[in-house]
């Protein structure tokens, strides 16, 4: 089985994010970069599927040189090979352009199933997986928490409000992974040593023959407004303090 896992390198959730003074993006100095956690679920599911049905896993990512660390991490977890789409015109690409680049690279290789994270924790768009499926003209099951693959079809469970959908689709298809799908394995030391020797193709937009013209552009980033300071109500009498809380909620916060 030919399995593809798309991964994105994102800032660690603990990284202190600062917006550049000109609002064009975030300050990247001092940030620790990690694999998008939802993509980890995708990689893990890809590896489990390979272990069950045989075949190989190819990891595909779009990003600058440092993205290679994330591809190597997926290889250390057990994927066989990687494709690194490295083109400065794509570094801050929108969801469509990213999906288009991924689709172009994936079209060149055989694939039966493609995994993406249901969203990336940086831009939080949640669109790449779906656009990718459209561009490849294959079915998609999004936000999946349980998956069975066999007999040329996939059965996926997708939670919705108050219920869950059970979806069945033919292959090939795109699956976007949600938390709960699995517990991603850790990269092992023997895996890390092996990852170094696994092949990674590096391609740019010209090699893929794609347009890098975005459909959407980030005009400006601004940090959220600072939270106003809290207020401590002084006093000895609890009843009076409670009354003051109610007055403030009514008159200042206007919530009751």
């Amino acid at each position: 089985m030919n399995i593809v896992a798309c991964v994105k390198q994102v800032p660690d959730t603990e990284a202190l994010i600062k917006v550049k003074p000109d609002g064009s993006g975030i300050e990247e100095g001092g940030i620790k970069w990690v694999m998008n956690p939802y993509d980890e679920f995708g990689v893990e599911e890809a590896l489990k599927l390979k272990e069950k049905l045989g075949g190989e896993v190819t990891v595909v990512s779009v990003g600058p040189a440092r993205t290679m660390e994330t591809i190597r991490t997926a290889l250390a977890m057990g994927a066989e090979k990687g494709i690194h789409i490295d083109d400065p015109a794509l570094y801050n690409a929108d969801a469509y352009t990213t999906a288009n680049a991924l689709a172009a690279a994936i079209k060149e290789i055989p694939y039966d199933i493609i995994f993406c994270g249901q969203r990336a924790i940086d831009g939080d768009m949640g669109q790449v997986g779906s656009i990718l499926a459209e561009l490849l003209d294959i079915p998609q099951c999004t936000i999946v928490t349980k998956l069975d693959v066999g007999d040329g079809k996939a059965t996926a469970v997708k939670p919705i409000e108050g219920a869950q959908l059970v979806l069945e689709t033919s292959l090939p298809c795109v699956i976007t992974a949600q938390k709960g799908l699995n517990e991603p394995r850790y990269a092992s030391l023997p895996g890390i040593m092996k990852a170094k020797k696994k092949p990674v193709d590096v391609k740019n937009a010209a090699a893929l023959g794609i347009s890098v013209e975005p459909k959407a552009k980030i005009e400006k980033m601004t940090p959220p407004p600072a939270r106003p300071p809290g207020k401590i109500i002084e006093g000895e009498d609890p009843a009076a303090k409670a009354a003051e809380v109610i007055r403030l909620l009514r008159e200042e916060a206007k919530v009751i």
Binding site: G30, Y186, A187, S188, P190
Partner: protein, 601 residues
């Protein structure tokens, strides 16, 4: 609880910039490695620590191991972590490819241990103990032993221990009485008691393999009569099945801190059926065990620095958010209070911690670097590194162990009353860190080892080589005008060290062994401060080189922050040697003269 427990930036600064460990990859033994591999190893260690170790740091302290129905029950995470460490290849990471390992340099292995230990010291020791025990089998055991034990020790299914201490023989190992009686069947019948054995029994593994010191019947007295044995809790019978080997748990100790790891009392051969398998030659057990203990000692120093690191970050977080008081220059009491990190004395406490932690870590990596080069070099070069490693091991164990207690104490102090309460982790760090000057040889023993053995061995050759190394750093630092005063101060400190050393060795030459060694712990302290000053000057050279570039943002902050920690050490810590030198030179002998009955009232 603070999310940050170590500085990855500082680890990489030490590994790649100060100790340039990627140079090792030029040697065939390490040629498969690269900085990319090392980075991934550190990332993997961080991930394991954050997912498995840190979340149960407090829980493992509150629910300590208990002795129930003949077995020690530990926190369920212990077994999970052992298995994860096994599957991840951590237990035999720095073993050779032949032994199933990854030939990872010890320095990188230690960096990973530092991460694990800072996240949760108690949990971190289980795989480490197994790794050490298996190392003895690798070095001195038979092929059959490797075949029998390696796979399941490295997979984390079986625990390894080192079983030395007995009720009457702690620091004085020559007094052990556990008896090994030869049989005609290729094994020895073991009988005796062992105490204070770390992880000697627990339900997180299927079996425990003790590497145990004992005396063969009719062996010569003293250290020359001690042999090393493999004593499994469950031995493997002819059919490959496990059968009980008459190794009983007779008790568990409840400790001040470091509570997630059981310290166990064992009783061997109560039913006359405990089999031990001799490792190497008879009567050489202590020599063998010292190989393991020297590695373990570096790990103990590292564990101390790691706990201090976690405590520092917990304290730092608090000092940034806790408003108390106003700047001394602000007279207006209606002004809002400032975070306590604004106060000079609080910054002093934080700088003290950093100077201890980062100075200690540098010394530990210096030692592991010697060990890594020892492995790939030959001839005179190799001998040089062996001597340096031998000389500095007691210092690398004791300085971090003793100073981490003070460092964590200052971290706790930053939190005031809250530091003393269990809502914050500082009180646990304070309890956890107290073990380190005790296990793997007390500070007192290491003082005697340094002065009584290492300084004088081979007519002072190791000491001479050490001075040459420090002088090399002094020479390099001399090229930087900004380091002028610290370079001079380290040179002067070496003069003090030489003066004191000659004075004390003089007693040895006169046969006054009592006066020679009475204050060897103080000598170790003096030696340690100068040694860490050397490490700071070494780091300062790298800091200066970096600051020559036009840095900005987080990178500039990193080097400037480190530069203050460096200057702090020279201004506040190094001067402490004057008092120590004065006491040592005086050699008043009052600890020799004072007698038991004078202590009564």
């Amino acid at each position: 609880m603070a999310e940050t427990f170590i500085s990855e930036r500082n680890l990489k600064f030490l590994l790649y910039e100060v100790f340039t460990i990627t140079d090792l990859t030029g040697y065939p033994y390490y040629e498969d490695h690269s900085q990319e591999v090392f980075d991934m190893v550190l990332d993997a260690a961080m991930k394991l620590s954050k997912d498995l170790l840190l979340p149960v740091f407090e829980e493992m302290d509150k629910n300590q191991p208990e002795f129930v129905d003949g077995q020690i029950k530990v926190h369920p995470r212990v077994g999970e972590f052992m298995r994860a460490a096994g599957e991840g290849g951590w237990i035999n990471a720095n073993y050779s490819y032949d032994a199933g390992g990854q030939q990872l340099p010890l320095t990188v292995t230690l960096a990973a241990h530092f991460i694990f230990s800072a996240a949760n010291y108690s949990a971190s020791v289980y795989p480490l103990l197994t790794s050490g025990a298996a190392r003895l089998i690798e070095s001195f055991g038979t092929e059959e032993m490797k075949e029998k034990y390696f796979a399941r020790m490295f997979s984390g299914e079986w625990q390894g221990t080192m079983a030395m201490t007995e009720p009457q023989a702690g620091s004085s190992l020559s007094d052990i009485t556990t008896l090994a009686e030869p049989t005609d069947n290729g094994y020895y019948n073991m009988k005796g008691q062992k105490i204070f054995i770390s992880a000697a029994d627990h339900d997180g593994v299927d079996n425990v393999i003790h590497l145990m010191l004992a005396k063969i019947k009719d062996a010569p007295p003293g250290v020359r009569g001690i042999s090393l044995f493999v004593v499994p809790k469950q031995r493997i019978d002819e059919n490959g099945k496990l059968e009980f080997n008459d190794v009983h748990v007779s008790g568990i100790y409840h400790k001040l801190g470091y509570r997630g790891s059981p310290i166990v009392q064992l009783s061997l051969g109560d039913n006359g059926d405990c089999r031990g398998y001799l490792v190497g030659e008879p009567h050489k057990g202590l020599t063998y065990m010292f190989q393991l203990m020297n590695e373990a000692r570096i790990d103990v120093g590292l564990g101390a620095a790691a706990i201090a690191s976690a405590a520092y970050y917990a304290a730092l977080e608090y000092t940034r958010v806790r408003p108390q008081g106003r700047r001394l220059t602000d007279k207006d009491p209606t002004l809002p209070q400032v975070p306590i990190i604004e106060h000079a004395d609080v910054k002093r406490m934080l700088l003290f911690q950093r100077s201890i932690i980062e100075g200690s870590l540098s010394l530990l990596f210096q030692c592991s670097q010697y060990a890594d080069y020892e492995k790939v070099l030959t001839g005179e070069e190799r001998k040089r590194y062996s001597l340096l490693l031998d000389l500095l091991t007691p210092v690398a164990k004791s300085y971090p162990s003793e100073m981490a207690i003070l460092s964590v104490s200052q971290g706790l102090q930053c939190l005031g009353g809250y530091g003393y309460c269990d809502e914050f982790p500082l009180e646990q760090y304070y309890r956890d860190v107290r073990i380190h000057p005790i296990h793997e040889g007390t500070t007192g023993i290491h003082g005697i080892t340094l002065l009584g053995r290492n300084i004088t061995m081979q007519k002072g050759r190791a000491y001479k080589v050490y001075l040459e190394e420090v002088h090399k750093t002094i020479q390099s630092a001399g090229e930087y005008p900004a380091l002028q005063s610290q370079t001079r101060e380290l040179g002067e400190a070496l003069d003090v060290l030489n003066d004191v050393t000659q004075h004390l060795v003089g007693f040895a030459q006169e046969g006054k062994v009592g006066l020679f060694l009475a204050d060897s712990t103080l000598y170790l302290e003096l030696f340690g401060i100068i040694c860490v000053a050397w490490q700071w000057l070494k780091q300062a050279i790298t800091i200066r080189k970096a600051l020559e570039h036009n840095l900005s943002g987080a990178e500039a902050d990193f080097y400037n922050g480190k530069n203050y920690a460096f200057r702090y050490f020279f201004d506040y810590e190094l001067p402490k040697i004057s008092g120590l030198a004065k006491t040592l030179k005086k050699s008043s002998g009052i600890t020799l003269a004072m007698t038991d009955h004078l202590f009564t009232d």
